[in-house]
């Protein structure tokens, strides 16, 4: 039975039109997947339905009547709950306090904490047994935070549940568990709207799919009736009818000498005695479960930790990676994992973002050479196919994929010896992802650039890497080569722990 029907939704933010014609429907007991590139409007659509934004035009029909929510609280009261992409947890409160936040049970004027705790415990045990609801959210891992977020949304027994990219920070095992739970909720008659960038997820769990492109709904498919054809769906997403053939990166055996040698790199408890070698012209992947130190390794190699210990040699020269300036000077360049907080000056223009690292290079004069820089910037925009209306637009108005290209682009004119990529395709749409990897593989092939690639999506590791290192609890536990680089093997190695356990010390924490 149809519970939600949104038609002709329009929404603009200042000068940017986020939605020009959004249509979305949801039915009780069915899971509807939202697909679309960054900036296609699907996230805005979700937020309008959840009451975070109000539509400029169009109609939202929910549960038998037209609705117009002034804030998310009203929507929640009506039975619409949303699980946000940027979490809505308060970091200094505990899990159970967060779960009941805004809708606490009371006895008279006072809070009934005991009931709240029990309620929270019941929900969390269902989703992730073993997660202590008394823990403060600040200390949780991203995956645990996501679970807490989901628990919070379903604690009010919603009739319509909107999940905005909930799987981004989750392990495969947790994703499967979440899917089971979603099926169960759907079985209870709840309508679910689910967004993800991973096509396989949508195809596996969703009954229907709605595809957004450029602010409009371009396709509504019933996956049972219309079938699950990835190529067709990708076509709707990108608007290209031609088959999106992934420039298959041919794995080659690399007999070159090592350009980077890392011995016993250690940083507190995050990285423990990591040793490996990166060959020249190779793409070395880093895999493993999320949060095992991969991001930290990338940051460490970029000089982020001043108290790092260990021995690092680049091209035969010893490096003291105690500051990013040192890494940049030696052409070991980082594309950070969280572009908004680590890689971009959001309110500044595309031009100043791309030009920024050059400012620190000594031999440029004090007065910035504008003509030269603008020419170089134009070339960067061309090379990476950055979609923008001009060089002076603020980067915060660009889509996620284009923003990521800017982050990569600022190193373009540098003579890169080692490129450190920390989850470059996270939250990036299919087209931009392809552009980025095309560029990277070309640089490797033609210029002999060496790359260390951390990707949270195992498929990327399989598609692009010559070798893959698996990390677990801050150590390298396996190195896969050649034929053994498959998603199954990666997952297997990620989970395998017996060979690295230290013994009694670990008994305390499992």
């Amino acid at each position: 039975m149809k519970i939600l029907e949104a038609r002709g939704i329009r929404k603009r933010f200042g000068g940017v039109v986020a939605l020009s014609d959004g249509n979305l429907g949801a039915q009780e007991g069915r899971i509807t997947g939202l697909l679309g590139a960054n900036g296609s409007g699907k996230s805005t659509m979700s937020k309008i339905i959840a009451g975070v934004y109000s539509a400029d035009a169009g109609e939202v029909w929910y549960n038998g009547r037209v609705v117009h929510y002034g804030n998310p609280h009203e929507a929640r009261a009506d039975g619409i709950a949303m699980v946000y992409q940027n979490l809505s947890l308060v970091p200094n409160l505990t899990v159970w306090q967060n779960i009941v936040l805004g809708a606490e049970e009371k006895t008279g004027p006072f809070l009934n904490n005991r009931q709240a705790r029990e309620h929270a415990r019941a929900i969390v045990d269902d989703l992730l047994p073993g997660l202590d609801v008394e823990r403060i959210v600040d200390g949780l891992s991203p995956g645990e935070m996501q679970i807490a977020e989901i628990a919070k949304a379903i604690s009010k027994r919603p009739r319509l549940l909107i999940l905005d990219e909930p799987t981004a920070a989750l392990e495969l095992a947790q994703v499967k568990s979440l899917f089971l739970h979603m099926r169960r909720l759907a079985g209870q008659g709840i309508a679910i709207v689910f967004t993800s960038h991973r096509l396989w997820e949508v195809m596996e769990i969703c009954d229907d799919t709605v595809v957004f492109r450029n602010g409009q709904t371009v396709a509504t498919l019933d996956l049972e009736k219309d079938g699950r054809d990835p190529a067709k769906i990708i076509g709707y997403i990108t608007g290209e009818t031609a088959r999106v053939a992934q420039a298959a990166y041919h794995r080659r055996e690399n007999r070159n000498a090592a350009i980077l040698r890392v011995t016993n790199l250690a940083q507190g408890t995050l990285l423990r005695e990591i040793s490996f070698a990166l060959k020249k012209g190779e793409i070395l992947g880093i895999g493993g479960l999320a949060g095992q130190g991969q991001r930290e390794l990338m940051l460490a190699l970029a000089g982020f930790y001043p108290d790092i210990t260990g021995h690092v040699e680049l091209d035969g020269r010893r490096l003291r990676l105690t500051s990013p300036a040192e890494a940049v000077r030696n052409s070991m360049l980082l594309v950070p994992g969280d572009r908004e907080s680590e890689g971009l000056f959001l309110r500044h223009s595309l031009f100043s973002n791309i030009v920024f690292p050059k400012l620190g290079v000594r031999h440029y004069p004090l007065l910035t050479p504008f003509g030269k820089f603008r020419e170089e910037c134009r070339r960067t925009v061309d090379t990476l196919s950055i979609r923008t209306t001009g060089l002076d637009v603020p980067v915060r108005t660009l889509s996620g994929g284009n923003q990521q290209k800017v982050v990569v682009g600022k190193w373009l004119s540098f003579d890169t010896r080692v490129l450190l990529l920390s989850d470059p395709a996270k939250g990036v749409d299919v087209g931009a992802k392809r552009d980025l990897y095309d560029y990277i593989t070309r640089r490797v092939r033609e210029d002999g650039m060496s790359v260390i690639l951390y990707a949270s999506d195992n498929q990327e590791l399989v598609d692009y890497c010559d070798r893959v290192m698996i990390m677990y609890e801050g150590r390298v536990v396996a190195i896969l080569e050649g034929e053994s680089i498959t998603t199954d093997k990666i997952i297997e190695s990620s989970m395998r722990v017996d060979s690295v356990r230290e013994g009694a010390g670990d008994a305390a924490h499992h």
């Binding site: 002034g70 970029a302 990013p324 940049v328 920024f356 400012l359 108005t397």
Partner: protein
Amino acid sequence: MMSLFSLDRGGWLFKVYDRNKKLLAAVAAIALIFVAGQFVVSSFLSLNQVLITLKLASFIALFSLCQMIVMAAGGAGLDLSVGYAATITAVFTASVMNGQNSNLWLAVLIALGIGLAVGFCNGFLSAYLKLPSLVVTLAMSQILQGIINVYTAGALITGKPSPVLQILAAKSTGIFPNVVFLLVGVAIVVMVLLYRTRWGATLFGVGENETAAFLSGVNTRRVRTIAFMLSGTFASLIGLLLIGNMGVAFKDMGSDYVLPSIAAAVVGGVSLQGGDGNYVGVILGAVLLQALLNLLVALGWGDAGKWVGFGVVLYALLAAYVSNRRGR
């Protein structure tokens, strides 16, 4: 004017292509104040008044430069010690100069020394120890005030400024006060430094996103410390101008400038979180505030009215310009 960076801000008044509109609005507001003042006091809208306003506003604008640099560097930067930094410089150099030009160079050196020291302390505590600059600079101003108290407890403040300073700060060339020319000169240098040099762009980058700047190889803590050192040094030099203007040094010379300097910067569009700053806007903001102050004094409200009016207008301006209400 092409700048190294262009900006976008949230909030319903702030748009990149509206920036010129905002400056025009400021000019219009200033004109409005003068016209309104004319109704109150017949000589308000006179050339003389305008020139006096410009002169007094110049001092505010100079102090606002300190604030702008520190604010642009990010991390909720503010420098509340500029008032007493100027005062302490005036007090200490008064007897050194003693009404002569011969020791002016020494006075300048002392000013630089004081400013760099104060600025370094502020910067170190704010950038390296990560203490909130609001509290640090406020405490620093108390420390400076305490030093002055100790110094003047035993002795009176003697000495007069060198004639050069008096010409620069108090006198006029033709009808225009010299300090206005100084301001224009400073403004040009500042604009070039901020918008057309590596250093300026680095400063704005650090203010906008310290982590991103750090990962790009910038020593962000050093940049922020230098920003405070510049602010302190400049405030000290303004102290020399203050004594040049007043003819003597006294204990609270600079403290009345602190709030207006911040207000002018905020009204002039400098973001409190960092990452941007337009000195032209700041100067207009200073003129606006000074004109308002003059109007309030002309209304005869005295000390009480001055602060009330000031507080109300600043509150209203903040509400209009800086408010960040939830957009839907």
